[in-house]
């Protein structure tokens, strides 16, 4: 079975490697020092299991997983992350708290071997992890083969598009495989307002709000875009803007 180790600290990778010597059935196909490398390696090797650190350069372990259509089984390795640990516990995903010993490591491996629902809980886990404050400052999307990190203040507005959400920025829009509800919950509520069932708008981008047809309004953004505002959305907008 194929294994990938993703951790930015070389010694942290080497300890996993050392502990894996006891499990010859698991073959390390690659070691990666950040999420970009990890993503590429996962697509290339399609591993059965990955060991994943959370705090890593550029994108976190969670953000990396979000970009994978069908994430492999994951054993998280982390030193200290309250939010992540809460998320793990809520979704019964195994995790190793650094430093860990061989015994604990072996337990994680055998637990994974016995598990029939390999990798199944990952989606729910990611939903839970996305609510942590460290993760709501940016949105990571895949743009073709490239990974794009969008700081939330650069987002103009979000628009529902079937199973995706269109994230509109000055560079055009990006698609993310998430729900509007997900973004409504995870983004800062003081900055992003659900103006309409299908729209979430960055209030810093709004220049004015005009009435539009009966009972409805429309928000005009700095770049001239018009974003629909429903009756309920108008109430929410006024609340946040303090009108």
């Amino acid at each position: 079975m194929k294994v990938i180790i993703i951790d930015d600290e070389p010694l942290a990778r080497s300890i996993v490697k050392e502990y894996l010597q006891k499990h010859p059935e698991l073959e390390i196909v690659q070691e990666c020092s950040d999420g970009f490398e990890g993503l590429k390696a996962i697509q290339q090797h399609e591993p059965d299991l990955i060991f994943l650190d959370i705090q890593m350069p550029k994108i976190t372990g969670f953000e990396m997983l979000e970009l994978i259509e069908q994430p492999p089984s994951v054993i998280f390795t982390t030193a200290f992350d309250e939010y992540a640990i809460k998320a793990f516990e809520a979704h019964a995903v195994d995790y190793l708290l650094k430093p860990f010993n061989q015994e604990r490591f072996d337990k994680a491996i055998s637990k994974w071997m016995e598990q029939s629902t390999k990798g199944k809980n990952t989606q729910e886990l990611l939903e839970a992890a996305a609510l942590s404050p460290s993760q709501n400052q940016r949105i990571v999307v895949k743009n073709g083969s490239k990974i794009k990190i969008i700081p939330v203040q650069d987002v103009f507005y979000l628009e529902a598009a079937d199973d995706y959400v269109k994230i509109h920025t000055s560079e055009g829009y990006f698609l993310k495989n998430k729900t509007m509800n997900h973004f409504e919950q995870s983004l800062d509520k003081e900055q992003f307002v659900r103006s309409h069932r299908s729209y979430i708008v960055n209030i810093q981008q709004i220049t004015r709000i005009d009435p539009y047809e009966k009972d409805n309004h429309v928000a005009i953004l700095r770049n001239g875009t018009k974003v629909p505002v429903s009756r309920n959305g108008y109430v929410r907008l006024r609340e946040v803007l303090g009108l």
């Binding site: 950040d34 200290f80 992350d81």
Partner: protein, 349 residues
């Protein structure tokens, strides 16, 4: 609480004032046709009783200070006490001097004047006492408040110091764990460095000032540990101007700034991260600049400050009451943090 009379100066003023009152009353009574000795006895009895009542009021207010709308009570009490005083005075004077011809008439006629003067006097003494006690109370309150603020500040400083990143600690232990198997000598060395570093954190007081060279030694321990953790990815360059090593700065101020730069640099870029440290003197102040690379496309400098500089800023404010000592700027893909440490002549060791 002390009464106003516990201060010698006030006691003397009080006695002189009272003697003047007596003398004045004797003169007035004599003017209205009383003999000197009768006037003196009258004045003596009158003023002695009034003095007793004044002292009583002064003492009572020590334990009971009126608040807000209770001043009407004080007014009624003064009025009531003055009436009692008048009744007793009249009775005593009647016994002592009633036999003298014409005295009773004069006493009868002067009652209203005696009453108003006594009431005014008692009122004044009451007001002065209230002001005195209020001011004392205010002083005590201020004292308590500044004590409480000092305690709160110390507690806050302590808390800021305790924020030593658990992340750093656990990751270092994890690295040591890995080294034990492969390179035990290095593991041992790192245990030593980590212990020295932690001991440095624990033994220093936040309010203590240390020399830059001492702080740099401590920083070196931290950098050595981080270099073991991150391997080749982390590079540092330190440039210390000759005049600066003996200058002083608050203990443990430098390390969190460098820690911030390392985290910001390492987590915002892939590849090698160069952390630069420079120190120099400007207008007699010690200046320290720490810079790290970052990716302007994915993180705004504003976010960068949020990493760990807030507590440094807060400490500087608590120590110097200034908010302009920590400055951050982003130049292309380099994030620069500059701290200015005023070298006040009064700064203690």
């Amino acid at each position: 609480m002390n009464t106003p009379l516990s201060i010698l100066r006030f006691r003397i003023i009080f006695i002189i004032f009272w003697l003047l009152m007596e003398a004045d009353q004797i003169m007035v009574l004599h003017y209205f046709g009383l003999d000197w000795n009768i006037a003196a006895i009258d004045s003596g009895i009158c003023n002695a009783l009034l003095l007793l009542i004044c002292l009583l009021v002064m003492n009572t207010l020590r334990f009971y200070l009126p608040r807000g709308k209770q001043y009407i009570h004080i007014f009624s009490i003064c009025l009531f006490l003055t009436i009692i005083w008048l009744v007793i005075t009249k009775w005593l004077l009647g016994i002592a001097l009633g036999d003298h011809p014409g005295y009773k008439e004069l006493l009868q006629h002067s009652l209203s004047i005696r009453f108003s003067i006594a009431f005014l006097l008692l009122g004044c003494i009451t007001m002065i006492s209230i002001l005195w006690y209020n001011q004392l109370e205010q002083k005590e309150y201020d004292q308590r408040k500044s004590n409480a603020e000092k305690l709160a500040r110390e507690a806050e400083l302590f808390k800021l110091r305790q924020q030593l990143q658990p992340h750093f600690l656990f990751n270092s232990l994890n690295s040591i764990n890995a080294l034990i198997g492969s390179r035990p000598e290095e593991a041992r060395k790192m245990v030593q460095q980590l212990s020295d570093f932690l001991r440095g954190t624990l033994k220093k007081e936040e309010t203590q000032w240390v020399s830059l060279s001492e702080e740099l030694q401590y920083l070196q321990l931290y950098l050595d540990i981080e270099k073991v953790r991150f391997g080749n990815r982390l590079a540092t360059s330190v440039n210390i101007q000759e005049t600066t090593p003996q200058l002083k700065l608050p203990a443990l101020l430098l390390q969190p700034i460098v820690e911030n730069a390392i985290k910001f640099g390492l987590y915002d870029t892939t590849g090698e991260t160069l952390i630069q440290l420079e120190t120099w003197v400007n207008n007699g102040d010690l200046l320290i600049r720490v810079s790290n690379p970052f990716d302007p496309l994915t993180s705004s400098p504003k976010q960068g400050t949020g990493f760990g500089l807030k507590s440094v800023q807060r400490r500087l404010y608590l120590l110097f009451a200034r908010n302009d000592l920590l400055v951050t700027e982003a130049k292309e893909n380099i994030f620069i943090t500059t701290v200015r440490i005023p070298q006040e002549p009064g700064n203690k060791n």
